[in-house]
């Protein structure tokens, strides 16, 4: 009887942590998809040309829109292992880009000279919100949620 009760308890705990994990990954998907649509809105609707660094961040953002749902139905906590490398690299690029727009990185190591200069802010909402900053915030939240999922569910 006691063994049965313990097993039952373990199952409900696991179910609960899976619920939490599903919600967290779903939240990541919401952020990734909003960011993707936002990026497409900037480039395709408002006709703001994306700079090279923007394109690299897009490379690491867009796949999440399709990859995360694959891990949601049915829920597979391992999706974190596939998604996190992408969002980590995306975060690094966004961080680099933000430093560039604030002029904290010297000219010489700017990787992009062709096309639109990456240090040019094409959008400035409330005086400080730029596209790279939006990207950095999105990747930061996605990384945080994926890490929480990893430590609360996978183990």
């Amino acid at each position: 009887m006691t063994t049965n009760a313990n097993e039952y308890g373990a199952t409900t705990t696991r179910a609960r942590s899976h619920d939490l994990g599903w919600n967290l990954v779903f939240a990541c998907w919401l952020i990734a998809t909003s960011s993707t649509l936002g990026a497409l809105f900037f480039s395709e609707v408002m006709n703001l040309p994306p700079c090279v660094l923007c394109w690299y961040q897009r490379i690491f953002l867009f796949p999440l829109v399709l990859m995360l749902p694959v891990g949601l139905f049915p829920f597979d906590p391992k999706v974190v292992r596939y998604a996190l490398p992408l969002s980590m690299v995306g975060w690094s690029l966004a961080f680099f880009h933000v430093l560039l727009t604030y002029g904290l990185i010297p000219e010489s190591i700017r990787p992009c000279t062709l096309g639109v200069p990456c240090a040019l802010n094409q959008i400035e909402w409330f005086g400080f919100v730029s596209i790279p900053l939006l990207s950095l915030v999105a990747f930061s939240v996605i990384n945080a949620l994926l890490l929480v999922t990893h430590y609360r569910v996978s183990k």
Binding site: W22, F26, W29, L30, T33, S34, L37, L40, F41, V45, M46, P69, L72, F73
Partner: protein, 215 residues
Amino acid sequence: MKRKPLFITAAVALVAAFVVGTLVYQSQRADSAQALARQALLVRDYAPTAGPAEAKVHIVEFFDPACDTCRSFYPFVKRMMAANPGKIRVSVRYAPFHNNSDYVVKVLEATRKQGKYWEALEALLAAQSSWAPNHSADPDLVWPQLAGLGLDLERVRQDMNAPDITRNLEQDIADAKALKVTQTPEFFVNGKPMPSFGYEQLTALVSDALAKAYR
């Protein structure tokens, strides 16, 4: 399992937001393109203008000196300018729809050559009912209204037939037609017409333009 409906709803909502955003953005862009084209017809440098040139809110009024609604809007617009000093300027374009209004317009434009335009305009508006009974201007009754303004009325009589005055008036009438101005007064605030006629609509349009230009 409510996860699938939740996911599908979210996906549809996000895509719908994108589509609606696109439509709104594009219609706004079309509006501003239209406003730009309108601006060319609205703003003529010869039009009499009150208010500083650097004012960011520009009201263009299509005006008929014999129109009594124009008369009642005149102090209203003046109050709006006084309430927002330096931020609003007003240009007067003519749409002389009443009988003999064009004659009065020519007289007014001739007073401008003596630097007494606004004085003459206010004097004529104040006495509108006496020289424009039954919505028809009587040329002979116009002249007495201009006495006492320090105008050389003989010169006004000569100047009112000057070719530039006739030309500008014809241009005003042509622009009014192109802009589909069919009633006076018609106001355009930074290129935007009133959605429907009324004091509140004009006030809303001006406060909107002020908020946009001076945020």
